[in-house]
């Protein structure tokens, strides 16, 4: 392990890679700060740029962008109550009231310190958890992989939100359907190409990611304009106040950061959960831990209420790399995009990555730590200047984002047909957004579709067409057992809710 860490350190600390972490953090902060654009868009926009890069360098840049985007999202959440990223919505609960009270500087500083601490603690966890899980998963077979992918896709749907389970399952299935377009990888037969030569290779993952996130998010800003420009102008012109945090405040917040880091990391490791759920859970946990007096401050500018989600969302970002790097299974939409990028570099993530490409494996982990330091040392002092970007006119920014998204995909295939497919997918994505059908499960289904089919085919071939492969091995059976629990959990929750509501109605009637 020490060899690997040293190798990762030497790769991550090379001047080019250090520059990439810096550029990634900076670009991520900028993109994440723009309301409407999240880390998936930020990373997707970076992919075409990184095509010519060495895989380790490309991944380092993207990890930096991921951190930066979450940090940037916090900045806009605190300054103008417009979280650019879902994972920073909980940050705005107390961050924005603090900014309104004239403590924007302090809120931003606490957000940065909490992010740094959360990211650092989680990076240390990752350092130990990832190799351990990778060595276990070396014994995995096709059946286990198939079961793991089913679990991953089910979990994404289960975490989609109350009452959204079936909708998320539908979107996952839609992603799986899209993955079947093109030539069947094993048989070499064309499926759903309708005789079009342009569809023989299927839909590219980059095209789908760009169209569903970058393009549609930019178009949604035009379709549903939010009235935040005046606040943005005030935030960029006004003074942020002192960024100093007192010793008592640090003492008060240290246990919060510790608890939220652990919670955030483990939530991040779970497939399908991620930064958003981690931040809300950490916020809720801190609220329940707080004294009655402190509880009243939540939502009105509590420092604990700000530190908890900020720590947890960064820790969850690191945690989400565990299943990606060790099993090759992304746990979130963002890591799904990274998985696609890794595959396009010719790197197959999974347990073999740890053995075959230790430089990529370790340098990504080490770069996370460096990314956290860069965010703290460089971005924090630059925030007053970066905040001015919030006032950039949308009428210039939106066409530029559209252009970068379109040309990014075009430069990979040099086929204008892709631009037209992107437009169609973006229109569909807008409709899905309007009717609240989540897009991340679709992307995850699309990326895992090919691998899932391959593993199912292999498992069936090995078991001579018998479905017994599903329960023969204890690992497969256990994973599928967990899947059933995850699948049934929302259903049971639903039944409990209905019974509770009925009981309440009866009580009201009696009353």
């Amino acid at each position: 392990m020490l060899d690997g860490i040293l190798q990762g350190l030497s790769t991550a600390a090379s001047p080019v890679n250090l520059l990439m972490v810096f550029v990634g953090c900076f670009a991520g902060t900028f993109i994440g700060m723009l309301p409407g654009l999240g880390p998936i868009s930020a990373i997707a926009l970076m992919i075409p740029i990184t095509y010519g890069f060495d895989p380790a360098t490309g991944m380092i840049l993207m990890a930096g962008v991921y951190y930066g985007a979450i940090f940037g999202g916090s900045t806009s959440a605190i300054l103008i109550n417009a979280p650019g990223v879902a994972g920073t919505v909980a940050t705005s609960f107390d961050g924005y009231p603090l900014a309104k009270q004239g403590h924007a500087g302090k809120a931003l500083a606490i957000a940065a310190y909490s992010s740094f601490s959360g990211g650092t603690i989680a990076a240390i966890f990752l350092l130990f958890a990832a190799p351990a899980l990778a060595s276990v998963s070396l014994s995995f077979q096709s059946a286990d992989y198939f079961a793991l992918m089913v679990l991953g896709l089910t979990a994404v749907s289960a975490f989609a939100g109350k009452g959204k389970f079936l909708v998320a399952v539908l979107m996952t299935l839609f992603g799986l359907m899209l993955s079947t377009i093109g030539t069947d990888q094993t048989a070499g037969l064309q499926r759903f190409t309708f005789g079009s030569l342009d569809l023989i290779d299927g839909i590219s993952f980059l095209l789908l990611a760009m169209a569903t996130f970058a393009l549609s998010e930019a178009l949604m800003v035009v379709l549903k304009p939010e009235k935040i420009s005046q606040e943005a102008e005030e935030a960029t012109k006004g003074k942020l106040g002192s960024m100093k945090v007192s010793r008592e405040e640090v003492k008060d917040l240290a246990p919060v950061v510790g608890r939220s880091s652990v919670l955030g990391f483990f939530i991040g490791v779970l497939p399908g959960a991620g930064a958003t759920i981690a931040s809300f859970l950490a916020y809720g946990m801190e609220r329940s831990f707080a004294s009655a007096k402190e509880k009243l401050k939540f939502g009105k500018g509590s420092l604990r209420g700000l530190a908890a989600p900020e720590t947890a969302n960064n820790a969850a970002c690191s945690g989400s790399f565990v299943p990606l790097l060790t099993l090759g299974i992304p746990g979130s939409g963002t890591t799904a995009v990274m998985l696609g990028a890794l595959i396009s570099y010719g790197v197959q993530p999974g347990p073999r990555l740890f053995v075959e490409q230790p430089a990529v494996f370790w340098s990504v982990i080490i770069s996370m730590y460096i990314g956290n330091i860069i965010l703290l040392v460089l971005n924090l002092p630059l925030i007053p200047y970066i905040a001015r970007l919030l006032a950039l006119p949308k009428q210039i920014l939106t066409p530029l984002i559209l252009f970068f998204s379109l040309i990014g995909v075009y430069l990979v295939s040099f086929n204008t047909f892709d631009i037209h497919i992107m437009v169609i997918v973006a229109i569909l994505a807008i409709i899905f957004r309007l009717i609240n059908f989540p897009l991340a499960p679709m992307l995850l289904g699309f990326i895992l579709g090919g691998m899932m089919e391959d593993n199912l085919r292999r498992a069936l071939a090995i078991s001579d067409g018998e479905l017994s492969f599903l329960w023969e091995r204890p690992i497969t059976a256990s994973i599928l057992g967990i899947t059933v629990v995850v699948l049934l959990a929302p259903l049971i929750q639903n039944i409990i809710d209905v019974r509770r509501r009925k009981a309440l109605k009866v009580n009201d009637g009696e009353g």
Partner: protein, 159 residues
């Protein structure tokens, strides 16, 4: 009768599942594939069944809470500007080969910035032309990515 956005989405997916399943049955097979446990049709057919069942469940099960009517979701939005931007993207796809990268990109950006309400030509031109030329310079001159000049120029040159 009104249809909630969730049910409307489920109905669309049900139709999609049926169409997808019907098309899946036309996927060609190799001779002897009927005896194989897994063919190129297996996954698509399974997906069409699963999608059909889930969308049907979503259609018939009672909703947890009332959601908006499907038509109300599309009201009160800035469709005009969005449609213009979508049109411009299609235009960009159509003109990229004939007009070349520089000209089509400048036209796309000018159109986009103008459509979003900017009327100062100095701002429009200063935002679009340097961005396009700068990006072209990075791609073509620094990264060595060849961007073919527009077909129209090749035709003009040939004449």
């Amino acid at each position: 009768m009104t249809l909630s956005k969730e049910k409307a989405g489920a109905l669309c997916f049900l139709v999609l599942a049926i169409a997808y399943g019907m098309e899946a049955r036309h996927i060609p097979l190799f001779p002897g594939d009927e005896l194989e446990p897994f063919t190129a049709r297996t996954m698509p057919i399974a997906l069409s069944w699963l999608t059909g069942i889930v969308s049907f469940l979503l259609l018939v099960l009672p909703q947890r809470e009332e959601t908006d009517d499907i038509l109300s979701v599309f009201r009160g939005l800035n469709w005009g500007r969005t449609s213009i931007l979508i049109g411009l993207m299609v235009f960009y796809g159509l003109t990229l080969s004939p007009l070349g990268f520089l000209l089509s990109t400048v036209l796309f950006l000018i159109g986009g910035i103008y459509a979003l309400g900017e009327r100062r030509w100095s701002v429009i031109l200063l935002s679009s032309v340097p961005a396009t030329v700068g990006f072209w310079f990075i791609l073509d001159k620094l990264l060595g990515i060849y961007l073919a000049p527009g077909e129209i120029f090749a035709m003009l040159g040939a004449n």
